[in-house]
Structure formats: C-alpha cells, structure tokens
Amino acid sequence: MKFGVVVFPGSNCEHDAYYVLKKVLSAEVFYIWHKETSLRLFDAIILPGGFSYGDYLRAGAVARFSPVMKEIVEYAKDGGPVLGICNGFQILLEAGLLPGALIANAGLRFLCQDVFLKVGSTDSAFTKTYTEGQVLKMPIAHYHGNYFADEEVLKCLQDEDRIAFQYSSAEGDISEQYNPNGSKLNIAGIFNENKNVLGMMPHPERAAEKILSSEDGLGIFKSLLENN
C-alpha cells in the first residue's frame, strides 16, 4: 500500500500526515510535488492542510490549478481514494470533487481547539474501522471551515449517507451549541457520490498518538490500510 502526500507551495501539514503513516503505522508513504503528473503508483492520495498559495484569492482557489490536480481529478474518477484535510478539503471543493463551499467561520476568527465528531457513515474506505455513531476527539485549526451548501445538496448528502462527520458533544449530541464554526448541519466532513473522496476540516493526523491527547484520528488511516 503506497500513500502519496501532495505538497503545494504553502502546504504545512504534509510532514504530519507523512509522520503518522510512516512512523506510527509503518506504512509506505511518499511526498508528491504539486507539479507531478503521474499518480498511478499510489493506492491513496492525501491533500494535507496548510495555506496553499497563501490562501490568496480564496482558500484552495489557486492550488486547484496546480498540474497535479488534473491528475487527482482523474484518479478520483477512477475510484482512487483521496483524502483532503482542512486546506485539502478546501482544494477538493474548488476542484469540484466535492459539493458546497467552506466560508469564513461564523465567529470571523481562526479557531484552533479540540472538537468532538460524531461518525456519520461507516460505509466507506475511510471510516470502516469506526462504529456507527462513535464520537471522536480531534483538533480543528482553520479560518474558513464553515461548510455551506444549498438545501438540495444538503438533502442529497443526507439521503445518500455522505456525511462523514458532524460536530457534536462528547456524548454525540449534534446541536448548534457544539458547532464551532457555523457549518450547515454541523458538517465536519463529507464524501463524494462514490465515497472514494473524503474532505474534512478536523485534523485526524493531529490525533494519532497518545502524547497528543487523542488517537481517534488513526481510524481513518487504518481504514485506508485495510483496503489492501
């Protein structure tokens, strides 16, 4: 199983994703420079967090024109698993691989804190090691994490079981008071139609070791490893 972690100018979580895969899970992992145009070697692709192109214009809006993105769109269409974390999620939206948009947090401030997430669908290459309704703890760190989509898209996401994670209480209660950024339906992560693309704002790679106070994020990477 070969993982590829894409590096855009301004990415800053690529080392973290790499470390979890390489050192915590002893998986095979490589960096992919954003000018690369061949992804056939890889069994899963990760778009890490950061500020690609300084988030200038709009988060993810410039990165989606990087040469590698054309390949990633093809890769995803062929069913290859693609995980976008934070800025990676924003890029996936800009590239049209996922529906909706991420707008500025309701509080108009950058937010870095631990949140609780209720697992929505466990029927995916990313979430199958979790149990239905399981509550995870992991950090968020973003300014543009407020998920927005129109009613039609939201209904579609619900009907097709494409909501991966929702912000919740430690007990799994999904209500407005546990919504850190104003996201519609407390959405923290969503899948594409075929569930081989996952975009999420929280950082599973920052919750993958005991010393970082949570290991709940490991399940995503373990799920991907189990695909093989």
Binding site: P9, G10, N12, C13, H15, D16, Y19, V20, K23, G49, G50, F51, Y53, G54, D55, Y56, L108, R109, F110, L111, C112, Q113, D114, P139, A141, Y143, H203, E205, R206, A208, E209, I211, L212
Partner: protein, 746 residues
C-alpha cells in the same frame, strides 16, 4: 522620483537621521571625508539603537553568556544555539516589535513574528514553536481593544500560515502600556549539529546573492523609527511599518533549509532591520572581508529606487546568501523550485569594505567593521539615578489596607481581571497543534513540545512582571528569570537557557537607565544561580508615549529540557482524594500584587522577596519528585497568588473540573495568604501513598513541604473558612471575561 536630487550631507542632515554630533565626527574620522547621502543613511541605521545596541551592549555583556550546552553564544549569530543531545540543538530568540505594532498592529505584530522566524531558520533550524509576550493598556479603552484584537490576529495570520505552532505566551493589561503596547515574539527552532549555518561572508571571489522577495520602499528607516519615542507625529511614520507575506516566507523557509544542507553554502543572513545594509556589513565584518554590491541587480518592486532606498529598505522575506563561486546555478535551482527570486548581486573581496555600485557607477564605500555592533559602532554607558518614585511607592504601609468582607467576591474579582483571566480567546486563534508535537498546549504553566525521534521534549515559557520591576528593578529582573524557570520546572523540565527582551523607556533619562541597569543585574544574578545562560535577545528602548514611560518590562523566554516524555507534567488536579502539597513558604507579600491593584487600586510596596538559592532548591525538589513519578500535577504561585493557582488547578482539566479543600493555619491575614505573590512556591497534587517519599525529597533538598489540603470531586473550592465557591462560578468568571469584552471589538 526621477532626477531625485540627493540632499546635501552635513551635520544637520545627520541629526535628522538620528545621529548626534559626536557620532557625525566619528563618521568623518572613519571615512576621512564627508559621507555621501547613501553612506550617511547606512551609518544612521547601523548606529541606531536598534542595530547597534549602543546604549545597552555594555550592560548586556554583564549577563552570563556561556555554559556547557551553548554551541553558539549570545551575539555570535542571529540566535543562540543550545545542545540538547542526540546530535540535536535548538536555536531560539525573542524580539520586540513594539513601535510598529503601536501604529499598525496587524502588520506590526505579523512582521514581528516573521522576523523572529527568519532569525531562527537562517541558522538552518526548522522552527518548531513560537511564543509571545504582550502588553496593552486597559481593555476598557476602545483603542486598546483594537490594538489587542489586531495584534492577536496579526500573530495568528503569520504564524498559522507558516505552519509553526504558537504554543504559549503571556499578556498583561495596565495603564502604563496605553499608547505603547509591547509585542515580543519568540521562536524555537530545531537543527542537527552538522546542519547549522552561519551569518558569515568570506572567501575572496565568492558570490553574493539576494533571495526571496523583491525590494520595495517599505520600511525605510524602520530601525531608526524604533529608536525614538512614540509621539503625536508617529502616525506619519506608518510607512516605516513593513508589510508581511507569510506565504513567501514559508517558501523561503523551505528553500533555505534545502540550501542549508549544501556544502557550497558559505553564509546566510536574513534581512530584518536595516535590510541589505545590515546583512552585508554584519556578514562581512564577521568574515573579516569586503563585498562588492551591484545594487541595480537587486530585484525591485518599484521603479527608480535610489541606492539609499535599496540599502535601507526593510522589505520582508529576503535573505543575503554567500556561496562558493561556481555554484550559482545550483542555488538558483533550489529557489526557482519555490518560485522565489535568486539573483547574484556581488562578490566577496579582500578589501574589508562594502563597495556599492549602481549601473557600474560607484555610489558608496563603507568599512564593514566600523558599521557594526562589536566593531566600530558607538558604545555608551549612560548615567543612572535612582528614581524618586521608588521611595514613595515602597513606603506605603500595606498592613493598614482594609481586609475584604467577602472573600468569595474578592477571589471572583481577582480571577476575572483580564491579566489573570483565561486566555483561550487568544490561543484558540493561534494554530498550536500543527507539526503534531504539542504535548502540553497553551493554558498551563509552560508549553511542552516533544522532539520526534527522541524521548525528549522542550518546555518553554515567557515571563516578565513590569509592576515588580517598577517597584524594585533588581528583584523584577531576577523574578522574571525565576518565574520562567519555575514554570518550565512545573512541567518536568530542567531550565537550560534563556533569551530576553528588555523593554524600557528612553535610556538618556538617568532614572530609566537605573531601571535598566538594575533589572539586568537582577537577571544576571538569577541566571548564574539557575545555570541558564542568556543566548541572545533584544533591547527595546524608547517605549514611551506622550503620557510617559512604560513600566520597565524585562521579558524572559525560558527553555527547559525534559529528558523523558513520560515525565511531562500538567498543572491541573487529576484525582479525587489526592493530597495538595506546597513546596516553599507563603510570606503574605501583597506588594506589587494583582490583588492590591484590583481591589485597592494600589501599585505599592516592594516586589516579593526572592532568595535565588532557595528557589533553585525548590526547583530541584519539584523535579526530583516528578522524576520519581509521584507528582500528579504541579503549578506555581504567581500573579493572583495561592487562590488563583488553586482555582486554575481545579478548573484546568479539560475533561473534568475537580474541587479542593485547603486549610492554611493563620499567622497572616487571609488576603495575604490567598493573594500574596510569594516567590519560590509550587503546589503539587500527589496520592496518599507518595506523601512520605515527597517529604523525604523535600527534606533532602532543604525545602519546606506542607500538606495543605485534598483534591475533592465535589465541584467546590474551599479555602480556610473564607472562600467557598462552586467551580462553575469560578469557571464562568475566569472564562467569560476576555470573550465578553472583545465582543465589543468587532
């Protein structure tokens, strides 16, 4: 700007540039002629307080600056370098960006962070954590709320984009900082011993390159501007404040670290204050060489820039690089990969002088050594005079102040002042978890960063108490070191070295210089006792607004080493029934306390007493008990005293608050016990079966050790018969203050 006639150079122009007559004569003497306009500009910035440390360096040299762990000492490079074993070292430094932040708080703070990051990665070290130390006027004043809000956003903007976690800091609010806020930024970097780079230029014929951003007219005379008091006219100097681009800096970071691995790299220095003038002269002076600089080759952001402007520009995100001749293509390849400028602008010569050319025409020649600190830059030791106010404030009899009728109300009041209250509103805006090393996040005594690939971790804290230093400059300096050391000790770390940022008023005022001198002597005494040398830092004078000088505010950035991550200790109570043990002695000192200020509106008395060898023994006892695995939590007493420390230990647990019942037999008044800010006191929680071991360790270190209470899972904090509060009430007083006030800022 075409045909821009250069003004005539004379004494008057030199004075306008911030030089005095004596310095003007010295320049004439050095050159053996009158400088031209460009040369005068370079001398004026290089000899400004900001670059030359002319009024501080003599005193700073009295600080201990050596130790077995120091690989690079203070002033030798851009940041100090400390060995942490395993072939690794940490580079770290703190620097002020006070004046820019007073005028343009967002960019001022952002570029402060950018500057200190460059200081660290120019040494080949990857930044692994940032901290800060901030001071503002009271938040009741709208302008202060604006400054506070924008400074926090500016720090977040730069640090978050760089992917360097901002893991700790401190902030205080006091009238004396109205009009002159303090923004001190610190960064810690990690580097393998064999990857350390140097800010040196040598080897005749080697190539000088400029890399990173283009050069614009921004920030010209920033260094000079930082070397005068803020006044009504300062607003006109907003253009002296640089504009930061953290995205470009992130690219520069990655490219620089790639370059640092190459053996054709001779030297590299970032451009901060005084831009090319400073980097070229310092690198040349260090290598005892000279440099030809073709200024027209510098990539420029604006047309028709003059040699004067190019030399003095403080455009951000640039570096000067010297490489072995013949490797230009290799260097360009690295920087092109990261879409950055990389241009040859000159070569190293044997002349010991900077020779400046513009389109082939010589436009200046300056001896490098004469420009720089440690070379020909002026050194002054100013007059001192013990300030008259000290006698008045210290003579106030604090025994006569009325005791509170309601101690519950008094505690809630103290815990809800912005200086004491919960700071999560601030650090939630900073990405403090990126890089996946943050073992203890902001909010505790000190932040802890684990070092991947080792069993080790680094603890770090910033501390400084302007009020103590105002009342007793020497003690204030010593306490800043002692408290920061105590903070890292509470996490299980041995203090290993400090960086300092010395924020004072105008050094030409003998009373201010007295504060400065005494504070440094105090810091030096403390550093010697704790064996924590000063690896470098920054002096910021002229922190005055039209209303007067700030409190003298020396800030210490302490770094401690934890040998085994299993020893990492946090500050909050963990277990119902644990015993609460106090190391050290409460002396009931209310002088300079937050309580005195909040409830009696008094800044009076003396700063708390500090017995440095005793403090060191307390550290040893605490560390020994932590390493024996018997400590469940550790927190020191500081601002707000015992009551605040206990309240924080009760509500600090992110999973569940735990109550406490504490009884201390009275020889003192309850307010003296609860709110006095006695030094060298640490509060531990330990299980019953470890009590005996704890007492043995304390006895061995000759430190008093008392059991003062128990942790109780009853949701209440009880102190003697005076305080009995629900933790919910404490939590809401503590947590709501800053968010409530700052709702008004938007």
């Amino acid at each position: 700007m075409k045909n821009n006639k250069e003004p005539e150079v004379n004494l008057e122009l030199a004075i306008q540039h911030g030089l005095n007559e004596e310095e003007w004569l010295k320049i004439l003497d050095i050159l053996g002629r009158k400088p031209n306009y460009t040369e005068l500009g370079v001398f004026s910035v290089m000899w400004s307080e900001h670059c030359s440390y002319k009024n501080s360096i003599a005193m700073i040299k009295t600080l201990p600056r050596s130790g077995s762990r120091l690989l690079v000492g203070a002033g030798e490079e851009n940041a100090g370098l400390v060995d942490i074993g395993d072939g690794l070292a940490i580079a770290f430094k703190i620097e002020s960006h006070n004046h820019p932040s007073a005028l343009e708080p967002f960019q001022g703070a952002a570029t402060g962070v950018g500057g200190i990051l460059r200081d660290v990665f120019t040494m080949g070290a990857r930044p692994i954590a940032s901290l800060n130390s901030l001071r503002f006027g009271p938040l009741s004043v709208p302008r202060n709320r604006y400054l506070f809000d924008e400074v926090v956003k500016g720090i977040a903007h730069y640090g978050n984009c760089m992917g360097v976690p901002t893991v700790g800091g401190e902030v205080y609010f006091d009238e004396c900082y109205t009009g002159n806020p303090l923004v001190n930024a610190m960064t810690i970097g990690l580097v393998k011993h064999d990857r350390v780079t140097s800010a040196i230029s040598k080897g005749v014929g080697n190539t000088v390159m400029i890399v990173g951003s283009s050069t614009g007219r921004d920030g010209i005379h920033g260094a000079t501007f930082a070397s005068v008091e803020l006044s009504e006219e300062s607003e006109e100097k907003r253009s002296s404040v640089q504009v930061g681009d953290p995205f470009t800096e992130k690219l520069l970071l990655e490219a620089t670290l790639e370059l640092a691995r190459k053996n054709y790299l001779i030297g590299i220095q970032d451009m901060g204050a005084a831009g090319i003038a400073c980097s070229s002269s310092e690198m040349s002076a260090k290598g005892e060489s000279g440099m030809i600089l073709n200024l027209n080759k510098v990539p420029m952001r604006e047309p028709d820039m003059t040699p004067y402007e190019i030399m003095l520009s403080e455009s951000q995100e640039r570096m000067l690089v010297v490489i072995r001749r013949g490797f230009e293509k290799e260097v360009k390849k690295i920087f092109e990969k990261w879409d950055l400028n990389c241009v040859e602008i000159g070569e190293v010569t044997s002349s010991a002088s900077l020779e400046l050319f513009m389109n082939g025409k010589k436009v200046g020649a300056l001896p490098a050594w004469d420009l720089v600190l440690g070379g020909g830059a002026p050194v002054y030791e100013r007059e001192t005079k013990k300030p008259a106010y000290i006698k008045t404030v210290r003579s106030k009899n604090l025994k006569n102040i009325p005791e509170p009728n309601d101690y519950n109300a008094a505690l809630l009041k103290v815990i809800s002042v912005p200086s004491i209250a919960d700071k999560s509103w601030i650090y939630h805006q900073y990405d403090h978890t990126v890089r996946t090393n943050t073992a203890v996040p902001p909010g505790g005594s000190a932040a802890v960063i684990r070092i991947k690939g080792t069993k080790k971790a680094i603890a770090s804290a910033t501390d400084g108490n302007g009020r103590y230093t105002y009342l007793n400059p020497r003690r204030g300096g010593a306490i800043a070191v002692a408290e920061s050391a105590r903070n890292v000790v509470c996490t299980g770390a041995k203090p290993i070295a400090i960086t300092n940022c010395l924020n004072f008023g105008n050094p030409y005022d003998p009373e201010i210089y007295y504060q400065f001198k005494e504070a440094i002597l105090g810091m030096g005494e403390a550093c010697r006792v704790f064996n924590t040398p000063v690896t470098g830092g920054n002096v910021s004078f002229y922190n005055e607004s039209p209303k007067g000088a700030i409190y003298p505010t020396p800030v210490v950035g302490m770094v401690g080493l934890i040998e085994d991550v299993n020893h990492i200790t946090t500050s909050y109570f963990k277990n119902d029934g644990d015993f609460i043990v106090m190391l050290g002695t409460l002396k009931g000192e209310l002088g300079g306390s937050e309580y005195l200020k909040v409830t009696h509106n008094l800044v009076a008395g003396d700063a708390p007493a500090i017995d440095l060898p005793f403090e060191k023994r307390v550290h040893n006892a605490c560390l020994e008990s932590i390493r024996n695995g018997i400590v469940n939590s550790a927190i020191d007493i500081s601002d707000g005293g015992l009551a605040v420390a206990l309240a924080e230990a009760c509500i600090g647990n992110p999973e569940k608050s735990l109550g406490a019942s504490v009884y201390i037999s009275r020889k003192l008044r309850d307010d003296e016990i609860f709110f006095g800010e006695s030094q060298s006191v640490i509060i531990l929680s330990i299980s019953e079966h470890s009590l005996l071991k704890m007492e043995q360790i304390a006895a061995k270190n000759i430190v008093p050790c008392f059991t003062i209470g128990r942790v109780k899972d009853n949701g209440r904090l009880k102190l003697n018969e005076s305080v009995d509060l629900s933790l919910d009430d404490i939590k809401s007083a503590y947590e709501n203050t800053i968010p409530e006030i700052m709702k008004l800022a938007l």
